[in-house]
């Protein structure tokens, strides 16, 4: 069972939680190591995402039966 890829928001929330835990009391070194690794992986992933420079614009269209579809749009929708 694979989870959907983590959203940016979820990663940032997780990072906040990891920092708080590492700065709290009562951790075993093994736990601290695991949190450290997870924290660094989130940081690297988000940094990679920040590098993405192309703005994606899509138009919402009403589809059949109340659904909504998207179609790509150039930067200058006319």
């Amino acid at each position: 069972m694979t989870d959907p890829p983590l959203t940016l928001e979820r990663r940032m929330e997780r990072l906040d939680a990891i920092v708080a835990k590492l700065e709290s009391e009562g951790l075993e070194l093994d736990d601290a190591l695991a949190l450290f690794e997870e924290g660094v992986s989130h940081i690297r992933e988000v940094e990679r995402m920040l590098q993405d420079a192309d703005l994606r614009i899509e138009r919402l269209i009403a589809g059949p039966g109340g659904t909504v579809e998207t179609e790509p749009v150039s930067r200058d929708p006319g």
Partner: protein
């Protein structure tokens, strides 16, 4: 004082004094048809009085099912019957209240079929501050407020890092370009979902409402920006419409209203989760700033690393402390053991033959090393050794006349 010449219903030029008046001779004057008279009168009125503004108090306002509105305008000494046809009535922000002072633009005319003098209005303005616009705004405000839709508790917080932002606005307006520019600078990874709509004129309110609902229904947006650039009160009027307000209020995700204007707040601003002064400002609130996030991440990395280091040091300290404690415990044990050993040593020492020798006792030993304990073991002339602490003294028995102890 004769009436002026005019044209009759057949277009012939008539001078009433001539053909229709009593003439000396007794012939009956020609009679006009009612339709003719009314037509003449209507033409005279419309020729003599061009469109003009009339000010007065509204009385007896009635909107028919046809959409046409019938009312009276009056002042202290006169009144006039008025009509506002459907196509013009549709543009009214609100229907005037009874007794309200208004100005109406239109023309005086005659309704020929009934021979009624009336004023056909094209536009009506309220005389109070803000006029009919303010009336409409306040009526809707009170209505939505009574339903709790304007309550501050309803305002939802915006997501700090939205994956997608929906934008409801005109596809050709400056507002969209402003929003796109801000997002591409601050957070270009954000997915932008355009839900286009007319933002002014006929049909704009229902189009905006449809576009807002589409954005919400998509399930793809984390936040919705609804907006347009600046304009007059009339231009912005769609954002004071009830259907737009209700679409915003029932949005499943937070809505930022962005009606660029310096005038008043719109109803959309009041119902939205956040009001931004301009479309650019809305985009700034909707998405995080890339530079700020990079700093945030750098700080987070420092804290994560130092957080781990703290635990490593703590662990090392713990190990160090444990080792010290063990060492101290071992030392304590050895010392005690040594003390015990030395105590035993002394006791043994005291009990051992060597101890006795050191205290001055001597042991006579025969040639075979046997201890000679009794006088009976000695005879005169015998040789024996006398063991003292540090050696053996060769001895010979001189005399067996030895004194016995204890007789």
């Amino acid at each position: 004082m004769s009436p002026r010449p005019f044209r009759d219903a057949r277009g012939a030029r008539r001078a009433p004094g001539a053909a229709g008046a009593w003439s000396a001779g007794g012939a009956r004057p020609e009679a006009y048809t009612v339709a003719a008279v009314n037509a003449m009168a209507k033409e005279m009125l419309e020729t003599a009085l061009p469109p003009l503004w009339v000010q007065g108090e509204v009385t007896g306002w009635k909107r028919h099912t046809s959409g046409h509105c019938y009312f009276g305008l009056r002042d202290r000494s006169a009144q006039i019957r008025c009509v506002l046809f459907r196509s013009d009535a549709q543009r009214l922000p609100a229907e005037p209240e009874e007794g309200m002072e208004v100005r109406a633009l239109g023309r005086v005319t005659l309704y020929e079929a009934r021979g009624e003098y009336q004023f056909v209005a094209r536009e009506i303005e309220g005389m109070g501050a803000g006029g009919l616009w303010r009336i409409a705004f306040e009526r809707l405000y009170r209505k939505l407020d009574a339903e709790g839709l304007l309550a501050p508790e309803r305002k939802r917080p915006l997501p700090r890092h939205p994956a997608a932002v929906a934008v409801v606005t005109s596809p050709v307006g400056a507002a969209l370009q402003d929003i796109l520019r801000v997002i591409s600078v601050r957070a270009p990874w954000t997915r932008v979902l355009l839900s286009p709509a007319r933002v002014q004129g006929d049909g704009a309110p229902s189009d905006l409402a449809r576009a807002i609902r589409l954005a919400g229904r998509s399930g793809l947006a984390d936040v919705i920006i609804v907006g347009r650039g600046g304009g007059s009160t009339e231009d912005l009027w769609a954002f004071n419409d009830e259907v737009v307000a209700r679409a915003i209020a029932s949005s499943p995700v937070p809505v930022i209203s962005a009606v660029g204007h310096e005038i008043d707040t719109t109803i959309a601003d009041l119902v939205a989760d956040l009001r931004a002064a301009t479309p650019s400002a809305a985009a700034e609130r909707a998405v995080p700033d890339r530079a700020a996030m990079a700093r945030e991440l750098s700080t987070a990395e420092d804290r994560v690393r130092s957080g781990l280091a703290r635990w490593v040091l703590k662990r090392r300290d713990r190990i160090e402390n444990a080792r010290n404690a063990l060492t101290r415990s071992v030392r304590r044990t050895s010392r005690r053991r040594k003390e015990l050993l030395s105590q035993y040593g002394e006791k043994l020492d005291a009990l051992s033959p060597l101890g006795a020798l050191r205290r001055g006792f001597a042991v006579p030993l025969d040639r075979s090393g046997r201890i000679l304990r009794s006088i009976d073991a000695f005879e005169a002339g015998d040789t024996f050794g006398l063991r003292v602490a540090d050696g053996t003294v060769p001895c010979r028995v001189e005399d067996t006349d030895l004194a016995r102890e204890n007789g």
